[in-house]
C-alpha cells in the first residue's frame, strides 16, 4: 500500500472560543468538508466514501447534505482521538482496492460553546471509555475525566524516570510559540513563559491548566484518493507512506496494565516505520496528538524519537520547536491552536508537505509523522511524504 494513496484536499473552519461557531455540529463539519473537497478540485457529489468521527455525525447525514448520490463506503473507526489518523488507513485501503474513489474524513465539534469538559456528567456508560468498568471501579472515587486518568500515568513516569514539571512545561511552551505564527490559532497573541506555565493552577497533579488542551469550536476535513486519481487534481498530493493503529492491553481499563507505558502507539509505530521503509531519524516534523503535555512526551518515546525514559530531556532546549531537530505541532496543536480531535494535525502535516505553511514552514519538509491518541491510550500513526 506504500505511496498508493494520498491526501489531496484539506479544509478547516475558523477555530473559536468566545461566542462560539453559531453553527450546528453537522453544519460546522460540512463547512470544513466542502472546503476540503473544493481544495482538491472535486465536486461534492464525487465523494463516494465518508468516515465520520465516532458519535459526531453519520455518513448518511453528510451524504444527504453534500449530494453524494453514489456513497459506497461508510465506516467509523472507534478509537477516540486516535480515530482521524487511523481512518487514513481504511481510507487508503478503500481507494486502492476500489471500494471508493474519493473518501472524505471530517471531524469537529462545538467543544467550547456546547459540551465542555467541566460540564460532563459521565454516568452514560455508552459514552465512557471502559464502559461499565469505569462506571463501577473509577467513577465512585472521583476519577471521571481524561486529565485525571492520564495524570496517574504521568506521575508514574516522573517516579520511574525523573521527568520534571519544567519538561512538561517545555512542551506547552513550544506549542504556544508555534501558535504565534498561526493566524487561525486560538492562542495567537498570547505568549507564555515558563513562569506563566508553572503559575497556572494545578487541576490534576501533575497537570496544571496549561498542560491541558483547549476547548474550542471548529472542524477540519480531508479528502483521500488513489495516486492515479490524484494526478488529475489540482493540488500537490501528500503521499500516505504508511498508517498503523494499535490498542493498549487491556484497552478497556488502564490500572492493571503490566507495563503502563505500553500504549497503542507502542505496537503501531514500529509497524508504520517498517511499512514506510524509513526510520524516526528520517522525519522532518511530527504532529503529535497533544491532549495533555505528558502524552506528547510519552508518544515521542513510543514512536521511537528517543528511548523510553529519555523524553523529558528530549523535549528540552528547543529540540521540538521550529528550527530544532524535530519540530512538533507546528500549528500549535490541541494545546494552543484548537482541539479539533487531531484532524487539525493531519491538515497541518499536509500544509507542511505542500510547502505552504508560511512563517511556520519547516524548511524542505519531505517526511512528516502524525499521531493520534484516544480513550485509555489507543494509538495511531501516519507517515506522510511530499
Amino acid at each position: 500500500m506504500k505511496d498508493q494513496a494520498c491526501i489531496v484536499g484539506i479544509g478547516e473552519t475558523k477555530y473559536l472560543r468566545g461566542e462560539g461557531s453559531g453553527m450546528t455540529l453537522l453544519g460546522l463539519q460540512l463547512q470544513a468538508a466542502t472546503r476540503a473537497i473544493a481544495d482538491a478540485g472535486l465536486k461534492n457529489s464525487q465523494i463516494d466514501g465518508i468516515m465520520p468521527f465516532p458519535t459526531l455525525g453519520t455518513a448518511e447525514a453528510f451524504a444527504a447534505n453534500l449530494g453524494c448520490v453514489n456513497l459506497r463506503f461508510a465506516v467509523t473507526i472507534h478509537m477516540g482521538g486516535a480515530s482521524p489518523v487511523a481512518s487514513l488507513e481504511s481510507a487508503a485501503l478503500a481507494v486502492t482496492s476500489g471500494a471508493a474513489d474519493y473518501v472524505l474524513i471530517p471531524a469537529g465539534w462545538n467543544g467550547y460553546s456546547s459540551a465542555r469538559a467541566r460540564q460532563t456528567v459521565s454516568q452514560d456508560v455508552s459514552s465512557l471509555p471502559g464502559g461499565t468498568i469505569a462506571r463501577d471501579y473509577y467513577l465512585p472515587y472521583g476519577l471521571t475525566a481524561p486529565p485525571q486518568w492520564y495524570s496517574l500515568m504521568a506521575r508514574r513516569h516522573m517516579h520511574e524516570y525523573g521527568t520534571k514539571a519544567e519538561q512538561l512545561g517545555a512542551i506547552a511552551l513550544a506549542m504556544r510559540k508555534h501558535a504565534q505564527l498561526n493566524p487561525n490559532a486560538v492562542m495567537r497573541g498570547r505568549a507564555m513563559t515558563m513562569d506563566d506555565y508553572l503559575a497556572s493552577p494545578m487541576l490534576a497533579d501533575p497537570y496544571r491548566l496549561f498542560d491541558c488542551c483547549l476547548e474550542t469550536d471548529g472542524a477540519a476535513a480531508l479528502v483521500v484518493t488513489s495516486v492515479e486519481r490524484a494526478r488529475d487534481l489540482k493540488k500537490k498530493p501528500a503521499y500516505i507512506m504508511s498508517v498503523a493503529a494499535g490498542q493498549p492491553y487491556p484497552a478497556d481499563e488502564f490500572t492493571n496494565r503490566k507495563d503502563i507505558f505500553r500504549t497503542g502507539l507502542t505496537i503501531a509505530a514500529p509497524e508504520a516505520f517498517a511499512r514506510a521503509g524509513v526510520t524516526p531519524k528520517d522525519v522532518d516534523f511530527a504532529q503529535i496528538y497533544d491532549c495533555f503535555t505528558f502524552e506528547v512526551l510519552q508518544q515521542i518515546e513510543e514512536v521511537g524519537f528517543c528511548k523510553r525514559g529519555e523524553g523529558g530531556a528530549f523535549v528540552e532546549g528547543g529540540r521540538i520547536e521550529l528550527g530544532g531537530e524535530l519540530p512538533v505541532n507546528t500549528h500549535g496543536g490541541l494545546l494552543s491552536e484548537a482541539h479539533v480531535l487531531g484532524m487539525n494535525h493531519i491538515v497541518e502535516a499536509v500544509r507542511q508537505l505542500r510547502g505552504v505553511a508560511g512563517e511556520r514552514q519547516v524548511k524542505d519538509a519531505e517526511i512528516g509523522v502524525v499521531t493520534g491518541w484516544g480513550d485509555f491510550g489507543d494509538g495511531s500513526i501516519a507517515i506522510l511524504r511530499r
Binding site: A117, R118, T120, V121, S122, Q123, T132, I133, R135, D136, Y137, Y138, L139, P140, Y141, G142, L143, T144, A145, P147, Q148, S151, L152, M153, R155, R156, H159, P201, M202, L203, A204, D205, P206, Y207, P250, D252, E253, T255, N256, I260
Partner: protein, 141 residues
C-alpha cells in the same frame, strides 16, 4: 433505600454482573478478586475468561488487602458535579500483594503525604446501606 434517602450523591457502582459479587464481598468486609482455577493467575477487572491461559474456571479468592501505592494524583478541580465539594481528592492506584491493582483512595492521609511505594491496607467505607467501597489506610510493612 434510594440514594437520595441516604444523602450520598456521588456516583456508585451498579450492582449487576461481576460488580454485584465484587461489592457484595466488600460489604462483608472482604476484598476478593477473581483467580483462575487452572493457572492460578489473579485478575482485576473481572473477566469471563483467564486471558493468561484461556480457562473459564475461576473463583473469588480473598486478597490480603495489603499493598502499596503504585501511582496517585490530586484532583483540585472536579470535572463531575458530584465531587465539586470534595476537592482536593486524591485517586490512587494501589498494587496489592497478589499483583492486581485497584483504583481507590487513601484515607487519613493528606495529598502532600502521598508517596509511591507507601504501604497501605484495605478498609471498607460504608457509603450507603447497600454499598461499601474498598479504600485504604497507611500501615507498616
Amino acid at each position: 433505600m434510594s440514594e437520595s434517602a441516604t444523602g450520598y450523591t456521588k456516583p456508585l457502582p451498579v450492582l449487576e454482573g461481576f460488580s454485584k459479587d465484587f461489592y457484595a464481598f466488600c460489604k462483608q468486609g472482604e476484598l476478593r478478586f477473581q483467580r483462575c482455577k487452572s493457572c492460578g493467575a489473579w485478575r482485576h477487572m473481572p473477566r469471563e475468561m483467564c486471558a493468561e491461559c484461556g480457562s473459564w474456571e475461576w473463583e473469588w479468592a480473598k486478597s490480603s488487602g495489603r499493598g502499596e501505592v503504585f501511582t496517585w494524583t490530586v484532583v483540585n478541580r472536579a470535572l463531575h458535579p458530584a465531587f465539586r465539594d470534595s476537592v482536593p481528592l486524591a485517586p490512587v492506584i494501589v498494587e496489592l500483594e497478589e499483583g492486581v491493582r485497584l483504583l481507590s483512595e487513601v484515607q487519613g492521609c493528606t495529598p502532600e503525604e502521598l508517596k509511591i511505594g507507601m504501604p497501605v491496607e484495605v478498609v471498607f467505607d460504608e457509603v450507603t446501606p447497600e454499598i461499601s467501597l474498598p479504600k485504604f489506610r497507611r500501615c507498616v510493612r
